[in-house]
């Protein structure tokens, strides 16, 4: 079968829709993950969705619901334990280790096919059902609404926490809200690329975007664009070469865009510096003339 034929089939269409939604939410949260130095939180939340999935599977036969509920519990635990930023990494490590242990135990109690839970480790985007797409749409809408509402104070709290606090922004409340948004997004992303590769959608596109854009808004737009390019491009490539799993292409495309951004980024920065230098010289000349 060629790609065009594949694209008429529901499994491929579901995958592309799911990929679009996940790239959208990952692209939005990515720049904040970097500004708030939360790469480890992303990794932790992603791995722990395995525990949630195992619990959901064992209790209700529904790994996705288990992973989503589990991620909120995990975000709460990380937020409460790691109040100060210096404690945060160790708090995440503690929750991660305990949670993974629990996940292995839960999976050992499960009598059915373990692949339903292990799918979440490596991703299973070509096995997405309509119900899962509906959950994804609801989640993407919720994440976007929350992010649009808290965008400005969250940016303020992330880049300038001391002044934000003095201006009455609650760093603690925003931190917890963002942690929950992050855990939910990451858990959903884990179903596409697998927990082990979540960082390729939640960090890499934003890291690449930062290298080539100057303002916060353009960074977010570029970050979303790269995440979408990597996801949809990866899916289509996986349909062409069907012996290779899509996660391979998605992480490769994502990494390639980062390398490209690093290569062209210095040129952009240099031109910007030169422009700045010209402005400074001009200002100096004007001051002298006045």
């Amino acid at each position: 079968m060629d790609v065009m034929t594949y694209l008429t089939l529901p499994f491929a269409q579901h995958a592309l829709v799911a990929g679009f939604l996940i790239a959208l939410i990952c692209g939005i949260i990515g720049p904040f993950v970097i500004a708030r130095q939360m790469a480890f939180a992303v990794h932790g939340a992603a791995e722990l969705s395995f525990t949630g999935a195992s619990a959901g599977l064992l209790i209700a036969g529904n790994p996705v619901a288990g992973a989503l509920i589990g991620s909120v519990v995990v975000a709460g635990a990380m937020g409460l334990l790691g109040d100060r930023s210096r404690e945060r990494d160790s708090a995440i490590g503690v929750v991660l280790a305990a949670g993974l242990g629990l996940g292995v135990y839960l999976l050992s109690r499960y009598q059915g096919f373990a692949s339903a839970a292990t799918n979440i480790l490596f991703g299973n985007i070509f096995g997405i059902s309509w119900i899962q797409i509906l959950i994804l749409v609801a989640l993407a809408v919720a994440v976007m609404v929350v992010m649009v509402v808290i965008y400005r104070p969250l940016l303020f709290a992330s880049v300038d926490p001391e002044l934000a606090q003095a201006r009455g922004v609650s760093l603690k409340l925003l931190g917890i809200i963002f942690l929950i948004v992050l855990a939910l997004s990451v858990t959903e992303a884990a179903q596409v690329v697998g927990t082990l590769l979540v960082l390729s959608l939640a960090i890499t596109p934003a890291a690449a975007a930062q290298r080539v854009s100057r303002g916060p808004a353009s960074t977010t737009v570029v970050s979303i664009a790269i995440a979408m390019l990597a996801t949809e491009g990866g899916l289509i490539l996986a349909l062409v070469w069907s012996s290779v799993p899509p996660t391979v292409f998605i992480s490769a495309l994502s990494f390639a865009s980062y390398v490209l951004a690093r290569l062209v980024g210095p040129g952009i920065a240099r031109r910007r510096r030169e422009g700045l230098e010209r402005l400074r010289n001009l200002a100096a000349a004007l001051t002298e003339a006045a």
Binding site: P31, A35, V148, V149, I150, Y151, R152, P153, L155, F156, V159, D160, E162, L163, A164, Q165, A166, R167, G168, V169, A209, Q210, R211, S213, R214, G215, P216, A217, S218, T219, A269, R272, R273, L276, L279, R280, L282, A283
Partner: protein, 276 residues
């Protein structure tokens, strides 16, 4: 009327009081330097005035009302922390966040808000590099943006937490001049926490010197003397004048004497020295 009125202030964290029985009245247009070793309560005092820390005793009024966050009467320059080189934030974005960053929503600003930001950038002479990423600017340029953030909305009280930290002497003078000019034009009260007295000495009206919860308040020539500071520290203190500069040498036998005022030590910095 005083812009800052503090009576019998006691404040601290948990059981520990860092400030106690502090009285301070400062009027419009007054430039007050706050000096003292680390842990003596300088930052605590600013937190109380910002409304971020509730006093355990005493009364505090800023411009006639109790301090609370988001008070436009107070401008605040937080302690300097460099920005990440890759941070995708322009100077103008940073200053604008200082104005409306607490409001929910996306980054849209109204026309009057943009005009206010423009004016503040102009006042501190930062218009030339307002559209460059903050991480690429020098320490002095970043500090000017900080001042622009603080003077948005023309506050009548300016709280500055170590604004000269990590700047070279030339930039220290420049930053101090910008703050002083705002004070004179607006008639604002400036509370200037610093380790380095010399760059600000020409502008200072009074000095609040804090040591271990005790304090002395007065004109520089009265506070920066051997007698006053020896009494305050409870240990022999030398005050040396070299040309225009004042160097305070405070220490006891048990502690190493501090060479560089920039370095922060956790073990009660009993020895300190200011140089510009």
């Amino acid at each position: 009327m005083s812009s800052i009125e503090i009576l019998g202030l006691r404040a601290g964290y948990g059981e520990r009081s860092i400030l106690s029985d502090l009285d301070l009245k400062a009027g419009p247009g007054e430039f007050l330097a706050v000096l003292g070793p680390n842990g003596s309560g300088k930052t605590t005092l600013l937190k109380v005035l910002l409304g971020l820390l509730k006093p355990t005793a005493g009364s505090v009024l800023v411009d006639g009302t109790a301090p609370k966050p988001r008070n436009r009467v107070v401008g605040y320059i937080p302690q300097h922390r460099g920005f990440d080189r890759d941070l995708p934030i322009r100077g103008r974005d940073l200053v604008t966040l200082g104005l409306n960053g607490h409001k929910l929503g996306l980054l849209r600003s109204t026309r009057p808000e943009r005009a206010l930001v423009e004016r503040a950038l102009e006042q501190v002479g930062a218009l030339d590099y307002a559209d460059a990423p903050v991480g690429m600017l020098s320490g002095g340029e970043q500090q000017r943006l900080r001042i622009a953030q603080a003077i948005l909305g023309e506050p009548s009280v300016l709280l500055c937490d170590e604004p000269l930290l990590a700047l070279d002497p030339g930039r220290q003078m420049e930053v101090t001049r910008v703050i002083d000019r705002y004070r004179r034009e607006r008639g604002a009260t400036v509370l200037f926490v610093t380790h380095e007295i010399n760059p600000v000495l020409p502008y200072v009206d009074r000095i609040l010197y804090l040591v271990n919860g005790r304090s002395v308040l007065g004109r520089p020539e009265a506070v920066l003397t051997r007698e006053t500071l020896t009494g305050l520290y409870g240990n022999p203190v030398e005050v040396v004048r070299v040309g225009e500069r004042v160097i305070v040498l405070a220490g006891d036998e048990e502690s190493h004497s501090e060479i560089d005022g920039h370095h922060h030590h956790d073990h009660g910095e009993v020895a300190s020295k200011w140089m510009s």
